[in-house]
Symmetry: C2
Subunit: 387 residues, 2 copies
C-alpha cells in the first residue's frame, strides 16, 4: 500500500500503540499475573520494584536494548535522532543524514527516501549490511541508490558538527554532508545500567548481562533474555529471539528445567525492499570455519511469480558442506524474503542441515517460495554430479 507522506508518522505511531495495547490486554487476561508499572533496580542483592522488594521470587530480566552510546566526535555538540526518537517525530524531516549502514540504517534510509526525504547514508564499511553475503549487500546498495539514497561508503573518521545556517553536518576524512537532522544508527546496546547490576553481583559481558547456556545470570534465581543479554548474544538482537527465549527461561526459572536455547538456526531479516533474510553461515563464515563449501545461487527473476509480480530483484543462495551434502546456511534476497526463510530454517534447526525433507516437498507454483526449492535442488544436483 502507498501511504501519504504527511500521515505516515501518525500511522507508524498508531501501529506501535496498537501493538503495545494488544500485549497489554494479553498479559492482563492471564491468570495469576500481577503487573507493576514501576522502575526496577537491584539494591543490596534484591530486586526492588517501586515499593515492592522481591525476595525468593525467581526473576527473568528482559530490559531490552537502547541506541548505542557510540563515542562519535561532536556528538555532544549537536542534536541527533536515534531509531527510537525518530519514531516519535510528528513530521518527516526534509533531509536526513544517517550514520551507520547496518540493518537499522538501511531500513530507515530506504523507507524515508521513499517518503521523499533526501537521505545520505554515511558508513565506515565498504558495503552496507557488511555481515551479510556480499551479493546481498550489493543488491541492497543498488536498491538504495535506485530509491535516491546517496551512499558514502568507506568513510573514516566520521564526526558530527553544527550545520552552516542550521541543521547538522556529518563529516569524514575527505568529505561531508549537511542535513536537517542526523540519525545515529550505530547499533543498540543492552539496557541494563538502570538496574544497577553491580550491586546485585550481576556480571556483564560486552555491556550486556552475562548468562550461561540455560540463560542463568551470575546471580542465583535470576535469568535474562533478549536484547538485555551480552556476549555472543549481541548478534541476536531480534524480537523473535526474545520471544523464543522467554518461555524457555520462564520454565527453567519456575519448573527447574534446563532448556538450552539453540542459536544455530536463528533467522536474521532486514526489512528493506527487497528484504534480506538469512540463517546459518554465510559463504565467508563457512570458509573461515574450514568447510569445503558448495554455493548455489538462484536469481528470482527466473521465477514466473517474480515476473508476474514485477518483483524480480534478488536471489536465493545456499551454502552446502561438500563432505556431507548438508545445509550450512542460506540467504534470500527477495520481495518478502522473511516469509520464505522458514523453509530453510527448519532443516537447519532440526536435522543439522539434512535436506531430504525439503527436497521431497513440493513447493506451490507460481510462488516466490519456489526459488528456495530450486536453489537447494540445483545445489544438490551439482554436488551429486561432483560439480
Amino acid at each position: 500500500m502507498r501511504v501519504d507522506p504527511r500521515r505516515v508518522m501518525e500511522r507508524v505511531q498508531d501501529i506501535a500503540r496498537s501493538g503495545s495495547a494488544f500485549y497489554e490486554r494479553f498479559v492482563a487476561r492471564q491468570e495469576g499475573v500481577l503487573r507493576v508499572h514501576e522502575r526496577a533496580r537491584f539494591r543490596g542483592g534484591r530486586l526492588v520494584v517501586g515499593d515492592h522488594e522481591l525476595d525468593g521470587v525467581p526473576v527473568v530480566l528482559a530490559t531490552g536494548a537502547r541506541p548505542a552510546q557510540s563515542p562519535l566526535p561532536g556528538r555532544d555538540d549537536v542534536p541527533f535522532l536515534t531509531s527510537d526518537s525518530l519514531m516519535h517525530l510528528d513530521e518527516l524531516p526534509r533531509s536526513l543524514a544517517i550514520v551507520g549502514a547496518g540493518p537499522i540504517g538501511v531500513e530507515f534510509a530506504q523507507a524515508l527516501a521513499r517518503l521523499d526525504v533526501e537521505v545520505s547514508l554515511v558508513y565506515r564499511r565498504v558495503m552496507p549490511l557488511a555481515e551479510d553475503e556480499l551479493d546481498a549487500s550489493q543488491c541492497v546498495a543498488h536498491a538504495l541508490e535506485r530509491d535516491g539514497v546517496r551512499l558514502f561508503p568507506s568513510s573514516a573518521g566520521i564526526r558530527l558538527a553544527r550545520g552552516r545556517g542550521g541543521g547538522v553536518r556529518v563529516e569524514w576524512d575527505g568529505g561531508g554532508v549537511q542535513a536537517d537532522h542526523v540519525l545515529l544508527a550505530t547499533g543498540r546496546e543492552p539496557s541494563v545500567q538502570d538496574l544497577d547490576p553491580a550491586s546485585a553481583g550481576l556480571e556483564l559481558d560486552r555491556g550486556g548481562l552475562a548468562v550461561d547456556e540455560q540463560l542463568r545470570t551470575t546471580v542465583p534465581g535470576v535469568w535474562a533474555i533478549g536484547d538485555a543479554v551480552g556476549g555472543h548474544h549481541l548478534h541476536y538482537q531480534y524480537t523473535h529471539v526474545a520471544t523464543f527465549e522467554g518461555p524457555l527461561a520462564a520454565e527453567n526459572a519456575l519448573r527447574g528445567t534446563t532448556h538450552r536455547p539453540d542459536y544455530n538456526a536463528m533467522p536474521r531479516v532486514t526489512f528493506t525492499d527487497p528484504e534480506v533474510a538469512a540463517v546459518g553461515l554465510t559463504e565467508l563464515q563457512a570458509r573461515a570455519r574450514g568447510y569445503d563449501v558448495l554455493c548455489h545461487r538462484k536469481p528470482m527473476r527466473q521465477l514466473g511469480k517474480a515476473k508476474a509480480m514485477g518483483e524480480q530483484d534478488g536471489f536465493v543462495k545456499v551454502v552446502l558442506d561438500r563432505k556431507t551434502g548438508k545445509l550450512l546456511g542460506g540467504s534470500i534476497v527477495a520481495y518478502h524474503a522473511g516469509d520464505l526463510l522458514p523453509a530453510l530454517t527448519t532443516p537447519l534447526h532440526i536435522r543439522g542441515g539434512d535436506l531430504d525433507a525439503l527436497l521431497a516437498t513440493t513447493f506451490p507454483h507460481p510462488t516466490m517460495s519456489e526459488g528456495v526449492k530450486v536453489a537447494v535442488r540445483d545445489a544438490w544436483r551439482q554436488l551429486a554430479e561432483g560439480g
Copy 2:
C-alpha cells in the same frame, strides 16, 4: 504493482511468451534432446510423431488439459471465452459474466474486476471455492464483493443465450445477467483425444489417462503425468504436480525405478488477493474420514506485519488429529499465502504430520509467516491442555 488496464493484455501475453521462451531455451541446452514440433498420435499401437514412428522408445505423455466441454445449454448458440482464449484477447471487455466459481473462476473474476471490468460470477454451489475450508470461501466471497464482483450463488439450471442487442446472456432459474462476453470456468479436462488413445489400448479413467501408482498407463512402455492423467488425479491439476511427477516418471521409464508419487501433501493455491493456500485435509474432510479433530484458527490481523503492511485479511487454520497430535491439514488465507505454505507442507509430507520440527523452528518477526507458527503452537497448547 499497478498495471495500466489498457496495457494489461499485452503484459500478460509478454510474460507467458517469455516463460515459454525460457523453457524452450532450457530444453535446447540439454544434451541428447531431439525436439520434434509435430502433432503426435497413436496408430496401430505405436506413437507417431509427424513422420517419425517411435517404436521401442519409452514414452511419457504430458499433453495437459483444456477447458472442459461442459454440456451447458445454449453453449452452441453463442460465442464464449475460456481461460485459454481470454488470455489472447487484445483488449479487456467492458463487462464479463463468468460461469463457475472454482479457482479459475474466482481468479479471473477478481483480476478483471480490479481492471475495471464489470464482472458477474454465476455458480451452482452455495459458496465460491466450495472444496476449500468454509471460512476460506467466505473470505474470498467477501474480497470479491469488495472488488465489485456481483455474486450469483446457488444458481440452478445455468444456460447461455444471445443478449438483447448484442452480447451474451447467462440465465438461471429465476434470474439472468447480460454481458459483452461470457467466460466458461467450469473446469479443465485431460487433453488426450487427439492422441487416439483407444487405438493404442490406452485406457481412460474419468476422461483422462488411467495410470497405476508408478504413473504407468495400461500400455507397456508408456507413462503419463500432469493434467493428462485421469481418475483421482483430476484433483491435482497444478503445474507443480506435473513438475513433481515428470522426473519420477522419466526415471521409472529410463532406469527401471519404481518411484510412486505421494499426493498427501500436494499444495493447492488459488491466486486471489488474499491467496488461498491449502495442504492435506480440510476440517470437513478430516471429520468425514472419522478423525477426532482439533482445529485452530489464527487471524492474520493479529500479526504486526499484517498491520504494518495494511494486509490484514485472512487467517491460518490447522486441523490436528486429537489422538496423535499430528497435522492432518492446513489452510492459509493471506497476502501471499502460497509463499507461507511450505512451512505446513514439509511436516505433512515427510513425517506424516509430526509437528516437532515446526514447533522448534523460530519464525522471523515481523513476517506473515509467523501466523503459521502461532497457529500450530496454539493448537498444540490447546491439545496439551485437553481443550
